[in-house]
Symmetry: C3
Subunit: 145 residues, 3 copies
């Protein structure tokens, strides 16, 4: 069974955001899959998807502080500056963190660990709504009948 759909995320401010529920709330099809994989792909080169801690919001704040420090704006060697001081750092962060995730599906649910959630990394100051293509693939319990 293959299911593919495009989800439009709510616009977010720059930084890291827990979006597990926003995603799974739009994926009732997960319940049809007994064993499989869910693939999430963000169609932008200045935002990212990553898996991290789902509890303390300070972890997301500290992640943004780290990346602000270690992927600085206005580096003297940047050539690509016309789209704003936040743009080139956003591209670097996108590659460091990645544009896609694959998560196992087990008995109709994402098999995330207890403390794991899916994060959006919004790396532009005004990134707007981001598109995620979700591809679910697996076998349904019915296929055993």
């Amino acid at each position: 069974m293959w299911i593919q759909k495009s989800l439009q995320l709510q616009p977010r401010s720059r930084g890291f955001h827990l979006i597990t529920r926003e995603l799974t709330g739009q994926l009732p099809e997960l319940a049809q899959i007994d064993v499989g994989l869910a693939h999430f792909f963000i169609r932008h080169s200045s935002a990212s998807l990553t898996i991290n801690e789902n509890a303390d919001p300070d972890v997301r704040t500290d992640m943004e502080s780290h990346f602000k420090h270690f992927v600085p704006e206005n580096q003297g060697y940047y050539l690509h500056t016309l789209e704003g001081a936040d743009d080139m750092p956003a591209h670097i962060k996108a590659s460091l963190l990645g544009s896609s995730l694959s998560v196992p599906i087990k008995m109709g649910r994402l098999a995330l660990g207890t403390w794991q959630g899916i994060w959006l990394g919004e790396h532009r100051n005004h990134g707007g709504s981001r598109e995620v293509i979700v591809t679910l693939h697996g076998e349904s319990p019915a296929s055993d009948v």
Copy 2:
């Protein structure tokens, strides 16, 4: 053909560890797959999986030195400090390196390059045993008969 199983890794010290054999030794099912993909997913937000050099242990030592230097403990801007000085850096490393890997399966084996191995990144001082969900998917030679 879908196969999904949970593996419990041996506890490791902080740093990077070559775990290819520990994983494949528990995956005799690989031999049943002619063409496919193996997905490895670590269910923690302070450890990671990555692919790198499988020969010289110094490469793993140097990787840890790099991350110790560029993802420092005790940064003044960290807010999430209650779980220990190693915790917030561990979350950052987990996102930089990633929580999952997909490796092609070819004729019953992982199609890793000659010098590639699967590494566990243990980013906590005392992380304990880590759980990895393995999802194998592919077609068996028998399906051609």
Copy 3:
């Protein structure tokens, strides 16, 4: 439907290179897949695959400058130095950026965003030709008949 093939990339200079067309030009099989996933896996531990901006070449130049700065050569703590000053940094970059990519397939094409392309990260000074294993998997329109 499973398709797996090995592609040998043209040798490239150190830095980041847009290789979307070099890859898709060798994958006419994509046209047979209506919904699916394309997996690209580089069989080396000193080069990487990442998705980023496909338009302004300055973005690729700046990416190389960033990594040159933040994954420096000749760090005093490097032990693995016998293979050249560019070798250990190449291993670090390979893990930071990743050795594989999964991209959704939609109606016979990679469903990349308008501004996204597939980049090779060549992290050695003289890396030579690199091998990529491509695994395509999905359902064909014919399977609906």
